[in-house]
């Protein structure tokens, strides 16, 4: 699976404060018990996160982050040729550490950019499938970013920088398996009837990450070859929810063993680029630790848009309609009761992606006597109920709307079908 721009979702979760398996701190290592843990509310309110891919694959910078698999696992001729053409004969993937310099790595700048973009959580690849750890893992001696490459505790610096921002949560991406780890391959060779690798590597390493950096999110992956019982996932999660320093706030995804995706865990990713309910935007970092300007551009523009329109995104829930019945390019959200100022609570937001020629006709909203419609970044606009249902909204000339022209948001109060 490739993770180049994926969207994360919550397919299903339990809302509320009642923990049906008992009180905080007594989860059992079973999916029934673990799945019943309420998702910490910050996660659904956040809506937008950013996933940062940085590792040795940034050095060749071609193909994808699965470079080593294509080279050594699949022995693709184009990759073998690329190595012959551009590196010394004795060079291997492991020698890329020399060029993972990270000389421009400045996570404080990233945090500022993410904050501007309206992003509420940021996740860094602590370890990808190549096994190279971006923190000084004691279980990965000399195959980590402190003893080679940038010679920095990248995860540590990243987490510290993100946490300086009040509204940014920080998490780690962690691949359970490693393509070429010798111990993993011993377990794999006998059909995962032994669990040497989880016992000596992945579980203690995950605990090391949790204890050192207290992540708000653990974004697990690389689970799919073996069952959750091999990974000891339910025991790890029970420890995480009961005893770990982040027991009350941590959020995890659903990649904890073959068959768990879309079924078990915290929030559900299902498949890569699955689309609804939170969006996790992936960006890649160069070997020298920069975000290429094109990524910065997209985040700056997202932030410019969010500055006007965030009210229709953060802290919202799905409405009874997702997109409009007449105008399919218009998408809906709804502000939760208890979220935001009193006069906007219960409002329905319509995000329209194409500016209409004169009036915007929407089929889903039913206006009441007291309905008012505001265009974010503009002000009140007039509307009338159509005889066949739906409403007609008079939008101002496009140049009068201050939102960047990627989409516009209407706040509709007191709809009779809100």
């Amino acid at each position: 699976m490739f993770f180049k721009g994926l969207q994360v979702s919550l397919c299903a979760f339990l809302v509320g404060v009642i923990n049906i398996s008992g009180t905080q701190g007594s989860y059992e290592p079973t999916w029934e018990s673990l799945d019943a843990r309420p998702l910490p509310s910050w996660y659904d309110e956040a809506k937008i996160g950013v996933l940062v891919h940085w590792g040795l694959y940034s050095v060749p910078g071609v193909g994808s982050e699965w470079f080593w698999w294509a080279l050594r696992g699949q022995k693709k001729p184009s990759y073998l040729q690329f190595m012959r053409d551009n590196f010394k004969a004795k060079d291997t993937y492991a020698s890329f550490t020399d060029d993972l310099t990270g000389i421009f790595f400045n996570p404080n700048k990233w945090a500022e950019l993410f904050e501007h973009a309206g992003v509420k959580y940021a996740i860094l690849t602590a370890k990808h499938q190549d096994g190279y750890c971006m923190w000084p893992s004691p279980y990965s001696y000399h195959w980590n970013s402190l003893t080679s490459g940038p010679t920095k505790d990248v995860v540590g610096e990243f987490m510290t920088a993100m946490r300086k921002k009040e509204n940014l949560k920080a998490g780690v991406f962690y691949s359970l398996y490693e393509w070429f780890h010798p111990i993993y391959n011993i377990d794999k060779a006998i059909g995962f009837r032994t669990s040497f690798y989880p016992a000596t590597k992945s579980v203690p390493e995950l605990k090391d990450l949790v204890e050192k950096y207290k992540p708000d999110i653990i974004w697990s992956t690389g689970d799919w070859e073996a069952p959750a019982s091999y990974w000891n996932s339910t025991n790890f999660l029970a420890w995480l929810y009961n005893e770990s320093p982040v027991a009350e706030t941590v959020v995890v995804n659903d990649r904890w063993g073959e068959g768990t995706a879309c079924e078990h865990g915290g929030f559900l990713n299902c498949v890569d680029r699955y689309n609804p309910r939170n969006m996790l935007i992936n960006i890649g970092v160069t070997a020298d630790g920069m975000l290429n300007p094109i990524y910065e551009d997209r985040l700056v523009k997202l932030g410019d848009w969010m500055k006007i329109n965030a009210e229709g995104i953060h802290g919202t829930v799905p409405w009874s309609f997702q997109n409009d019945t007449v105008n399919a390019d218009t998408w809906y959200t709804k502000r939760k009761e208890g979220s935001g100022p009193e006069d906007v609570q219960g409002s329905v937001y319509a995000i329209f992606l194409r500016y209409p020629v004169s009036d915007l006709i929407l089929g889903a909203p039913e206006a009441s006597e007291t309905t008012q419609i505001f265009m974010l970044g503009y002000g009140e606009v007039t509307h009338e109920t159509l005889p066949d249902g739906g409403i007609k909204i008079s939008v101002p000339p496009m140049q009068a709307a201050t939102s960047p022209p990627y989409g516009w948001v209407l706040r509709m109060t007191n709809l009779s079908n809100a």
Binding site: F104, M290, N292, P293, D297, Y355
Partner: protein, 388 residues
């Protein structure tokens, strides 16, 4: 980072200058050149590559720069030759070369300098034969000279070289040169004037000139540590284009490839955006001349160009950098006649205008229905002052 510069390994200094009035994208894969050419839909353009910058490293196998050239070291490729071939395979594309006369640390140059320019060993043994070799081997149609400013033109023997170029060289009939041929030459002698880097006077110039502008606001060469806010936005680039062309200049837009020969996506995007804009609005740019007014007397961010067509008819173009808040526009410069016709490029019908107390009021169509972004072009036919 602070201000310390990192050690940059495998660095090859290459700068591509891109031209608009004519713009274009390039890298060293010809297939990509074709794709971008097709996408940009532009008729004529010129591309200028740095054949040698001030460090003296030549991007071609100069016999006068043994083992300090791109074939012997670095990419092991004749970058000038490959690019020249790729460009010349396309009709309408012109190939040009940037060449720095001086070299910071060349011992012959330093000796001549120490002698107060009374000796000319560097020019005789290095610069003149190399520049002639470059012209004869690659036949560039633009020679963009630079690094001329320390000694007088007499040291460089610029008139001697230019006389050879114009009389005897293989490109004598088509070649164009700039104005950097010795101290005090810029802005007064040579072919077209470049004056200073990023020259953008905002007023009509008596001599043909060129604004050599950078997409990266800080550097001509590639910077790995550049941020997005250090690059020009497409709005800024189109503004510079409008200001330049209205005043009779060409825009030569600089792009810096990275050491591995790629042009980073942010540069690609700016060039593609230019292409998108020019596909609709290129009529106001290519083959245009300055008009009577450069920018409007009432609305100063409206810039004018003019074209005369084969049948003798004239069109005046007004480039609007902002869409007016009211959706209507009263301009000071155009004098309307009763039969004046107004069009908007990319809009199918004529634009209505009505007499008002402030002058003729142009009523623009709804902004959301107009295909162009970033800037818009009104076309006037039959103005009372179009012949001026």
């Amino acid at each position: 980072m602070g201000d310390t510069l990192p050690v940059i390994r495998r660095e090859v200094t290459m700068i591509f200058f891109f031209a608009t009035k004519h713009h274009y994208f390039i890298n060293f894969h010809e297939s990509q050149i074709v794709i971008f050419f097709q996408k940009s839909h532009l008729k004529t353009l010129y591309i200028v590559l740095t054949s040698k910058h001030h460090e003296g490293f030549t991007n071609f196998p100069s016999p006068y720069s043994f083992n300090w050239n791109s074939v012997d070291v670095g990419p092991n490729r004749d970058l000038v030759g490959e690019l020249s071939k790729a460009i010349k395979a396309h009709r309408g594309m012109k190939f040009g070369l940037y060449y720095s006369l001086y070299e910071w640390f060349n011992p012959l140059y330093q000796k001549d300098k120490a002698n107060g320019w009374t000796t000319r060993d560097f020019v005789v043994n290095k610069m003149t034969p190399e520049l002639k070799y470059l012209v004869e081997t690659y036949q560039p149609e633009v020679i963009w000279s630079d690094g001329d400013w320390e000694p007088q033109y007499t040291y460089w023997d610029s008139p001697g070289f230019l006389a050879w170029l114009y009389n005897d060289s293989p490109v004598r009939d088509t070649v164009v040169v700039n104005d950097r041929w010795g101290s005090t030459m810029a802005c007064s002698h040579g072919g077209y004037y470049t004056c200073t880097d990023r020259f953008n006077p905002g007023t009509l110039q008596p001599h043909k000139w060129e604004n050599c502008w950078t997409i990266d606001k800080q550097s001509w060469g590639y910077r790995r540590n550049a941020h997005i806010w250090e690059y020009c936005s497409i709005e800024e680039l189109i503004q510079v284009l409008a200001e330049t062309v209205s005043c009779g200049g060409n825009l030569l837009l600089n792009v810096g490839p990275s050491h591995d020969g790629t042009i980073k996506p942010i540069f690609e995007e700016r060039l593609l955006q230019m292409g998108v804009w020019l596909r609709v609005n290129g009529e106001a740019i290519y083959h245009s001349k300055p008009w009577l007014h450069q920018n409007d007397t009432e609305v100063s961010d409206v810039w004018y160009t003019k074209r005369t067509f084969e049948d003798g008819s004239d069109k005046v173009y007004a480039i609007l950098l902002d869409w007016p808040a009211t959706g209507t526009l009263v301009l000071g410069a155009p004098k309307f006649c009763t039969n004046t016709i107004v069009n908007l490029l990319g809009w199918p019908q004529p634009i209505t205008w009505t007499a008002s107390t402030r002058g003729p009021e142009i009523v623009l169509p709804p902004r959301q229905q107009v295909v162009t972004d970033w800037a818009w072009v009104l076309v006037f036919q039959g103005l009372c002052n179009d012949k001026s």
